[in-house]
Subunit: 341 residues, 4 copies
């Protein structure tokens, strides 16, 4: 049985496994103070053109989001995101557990616009309400769409005018930047965001995310927050070893980017085939998640052959499913799926 | 340069690395719902004689402690531990960050006694103070000592009388149970504790701890807490693979126990040699951490050859250092150290 | 200038002032353990027909809501309410500050229905999302509407089926129960809710709300929560003195109910006059808040003569304002307003 | 039966009651935006010589402490105080409930010294521990002692050197400043503290404390915190009316200071009589709380005639009790007590 269930169904990319094996018996200090982490930080600063940024490694996305947001905000300040935002829906209230409200804006395609941000701020005019202070976006979004450079720049401008931080969740940033439709350069991220994270877990690592803090005001004492929220790995070097392996060899030739290209290629083949076969999409995706809408009957039949998640059930006997590709997805899986429909 | 800095200075035990490598390309579902985790849970339930216990895998000790304590307590309930307790000192206020006070009892040897618990409860008689509800102990303790069965049973009795939960932090449980002075059987832990965790990070795993919840009242919905605190690993199987490797082959022959035996053997050789050489100890330890007190001059000299932590500086020109052994410590390191003093 | 700004623009009802003055020099113990509080609790248990309920006095609505919700829920459990819910909008994230998400359901008239509750629960099926556990309603609602007995009973049934607590915010319960359209008896509240609070601040007291906890499971140790959240008044007797004055003489003849009747009478006169004059309402209200929609020009003119809040601005040159009456509103104010339009 | 149980056993000072009665029917806006609050703020700024300070009114001490500390600190920052500190013992973990650890320093007389602060900071050197950031002191202290100007200035200096905020809990500041041994002028408080609060509840008000924020960095958005923690009174004017009454007529002639003088006079008479009668004191107090140590038998007998709290029981058949005087204590009570011993 082939799986399109998600991009974390396997272990890690061979380059990462090789690095972990090779370095296994080295002695280093703990908590991310080792030479692997230092080298990985340098590679990331170089790849993303932000020599002055702070880079912190954490083990997972929810952990990064809650640690960053809790560290960046004062108690009554809130995060703003779309109603599909991962922090709004799929993190079991992790942000609220740190004391902060998540204000949501309805969005069909997962993209947050300056108008939505302005409306959210306008709806919270005084101290009887929370104070929106951080804009949370995902790239690629929860439904596979990506931000164009102009869209991100417009958000940045709005955030600047309204005194908001712009924070980007890059759980699937590899897929986004590797997309054929992407026009963001790596250096645009630190230029436009106050902080963002570079996903490893969903892009070839065993686990791990790299948080990049660009805004100087957000840097001090951040390691206290990492430790306090349970995110400081004793063998922190594991994260350095992995990110070094993912970003070695220059950004364009990195394993990290090539994984994005590979999984996008398969996903687009899937999406094209589905469209050609006459099925609608929830939204057209240029990245490694695709969202076809099939008759319930077909979904049932497909479920016998492939693993995937149901995204949404419609009342008219149609169901939107989510298909995700990864570095480990085989060409044969795509071919089999397209044949089945 | 040899290191006695801690027991997480290297990657993982060869048996764990082999298992991770062997299973790397398998496809499984995420978040700990995979067959590896299932098998690892079964092995742990069998090894510790608790067929009805819930077993949850998390990535690190601070994370387990805060997730468990936050899930077990109502907002005004507090944890009680010694003044050396890891949660009281070395977790950057992680417990307080979930809203709970940590009440401490002075202890020289890291052992919490029923008298201390009774005194802590007696000092908090009404609703103007927090309500002690959970007793936190570590085995081995933060200074290497271990609980005798009679001590643990006495604590259990006290907790029962006072309506308290007994929670055991087993970051170094492998070293404790493998100690020559240990008289606790694995099955004593679930028999005497409401919950305890079995350390992996400091006992041969890349990372990972297994929380065992015995008390039925503490079981419901615990996975919500794991997700909310950022502790639910997407590739949760990594924890299952590792704990399966550590506990395969029966408890007595497990890699997990043999690691404890190995590191204890080296640590005891160190401690014996130090005592023979005429130096005092902060406390005599039967496990893998030893705490000799040396003249400052000697400490300075040793620091040129070996890595270790300073535990405490005394005003009289003496310093207590901490020496820790691990599965990766070489015999030669011990010999070199003893020669040096 | 007359004020319809809110129902807390003055001090307290004469009966309350008299009681505070009369008892000022008595000596009592603190923190609500005095005879006044005991008598007030007894009066409330009798008026609402719940001899076994616990009654706690706190100083304000936000404080009651956050103290109760934080005490009732486990960390990942959430409150469900309408998008107009006071806790969702007007409490500066007080509920989130205690760690809990507020899940909102769109509602035009402020009434929460069983269907909304079912949909909210259905949208949160597993541990990657918060777990809805408490249903929050206000009676009267934030837009002046009230719950019919059948509506409240239907919610109770749904909560029972889904394992949810039903919590009622009675900041304006006096106005609700005194409404001519009300068919709830006081005893219906403890029969149908797990907990509810009886508003004093907006119904004649200087300040103060009485939380009634009916569900035995929610009672233990609640005073710890009151103290921990800063809600335990040193001179707690002030709340007992006030509630005793408000509920003395039997429910039907109580100052508390008569205040509701009085302010409703004036508000209904306002509403009737406005409708007769041909202006639309945001929603028809049977209680002490009315929500007429006027042309912007008229609103501007009225603002020169009367104080009130703007509820919503429409793009077509119309504005909805909120007019609130209290025990201190004069007949002359209503007459002047109706004359002005 | 006479009471020395505490200084909040009665309603309010006649001057306060008169003001509340006189203003009861005035119409004002809510939440502390009324003219009474404005005037009270002006009186406080003048009395304490801090024209640029922000003044916020809250209803009780625990509420002020948790609101201020939660607003001032980042998540991992901690408060430092003596082991007698009200926030450390008697607030049911209110500070921890906002996520912050309270670090305690042993003190016999309730006075915190620069040495204690330095030791607390030195014991928390890195991100594995909380970061001490705010020094909390009470004046008068929990055992009635007061800070000399030189002591407060020394603490200020230490805080400056270590980058800490100095926060003073003035629940009984009236008694402290009115003490014959006091050498602090009102203007010394804003000159030496980053923030402090002026107690009303224990000094003649029905309830209420005035928080004075001097440090500009701590001022922004504080009202959000007040609302979020449940401390924003709807009829906020009640606090303005009371503090205006307490501080009218110039600091030296204010009701607030005269209450302190009156209660100190009685307490000192008590203390002198007790010492003359040959009984020891826990600590000599120059303010309105005194702590005599009596044989258990005498304590038992006194308990039949007077109300008071037990402070500490000694194993040798002696007990320390606490006697507190207030604006409402009668001379006759003091005479009766001294006669009884």
């Amino acid at each position: 049985m082939y799986t399109f269930q998600n991009d974390y169904s396997e272990g890690c990319h061979p380059a990462v496994l090789e690095a972990l094996t090779r370095t296994n018996y080295d002695h280093t200090s703990g908590y991310g103070t080792d030479p692997y982490c230092e080298r990985a930080r340098a590679l990331i600063r170089e790849a993303f053109g932000c020599p002055g940024a702070d880079v912190h490694f954490l083990t997972g996305g929810t952990q990064v989001n809650q640690t960053a947001i809790a560290a960046f905000l004062r108690p009554w300040e809130a995060a703003v995101c779309t109603n599909l935002g991962h922090i709004a829906v799929h993190e079991t209230g992790a942000i609220e557990a740190t004391g902060h409200k998540v204000v949501t804006c309805p969005s069909e395609d997962g993209i947050l616009t300056p108008e939505m941000v302005r409306a959210a701020v306008a709806a919270h005019p005084d101290e009887h309400m929370v104070k929106p202070k951080l804009v949370y976006i995902s790239n690629s979004t929860e439904v596979g769409t990506i931000y164009a450079k102009a869209q991100l720049a417009a958000l940045r401008k709005t955030c600047g005018e309204l005194g908001l931080y712009l924070y980007l969740d890059g759980a699937r940033l590899g897929s986004a930047l590797a997309s054929k439709e992407n026009d963001l350069s790596p250096a645009d991220l630190p230029a436009l965001c106050d902080a963002f994270y570079i996903g490893g877990t969903k892009n070839g690592a065993l686990f791990g995310e790299a948080l990049v803090i660009v805004n100087d005001a957000l840097k001090p004492d951040f390691r206290y927050g990492v430790k306090q929220r349970g995110g400081m790995l004793a063998k922190g070097r594991l994260l350095g070893v992995q990110f070094e392996a993912l970003f070695a060899g220059g950004f364009e030739d990195s394993a990290w980017l090539s994984i994005g290209r590979y999984e996008n290629g398969l996903a687009q083949k899937l999406q094209d085939g589905i469209v050609k076969a006459g099925y609608p999409l929830l939204v057209r995706s240029p990245s490694n998640q695709v969202f076809p809408i099939f008759p319930d009957k077909l979904v049932e039949k497909l479920a016998g052959e492939f693993k995937f998640e149901v995204q949404r059930r419609f009342p008219d006997g149609q169901t939107c499913i989510r298909l995700v590709t990864s570095w480990a997805t085989e060409e044969a899986a795509v071919a089999a799926f397209l044949k089945e429909i």
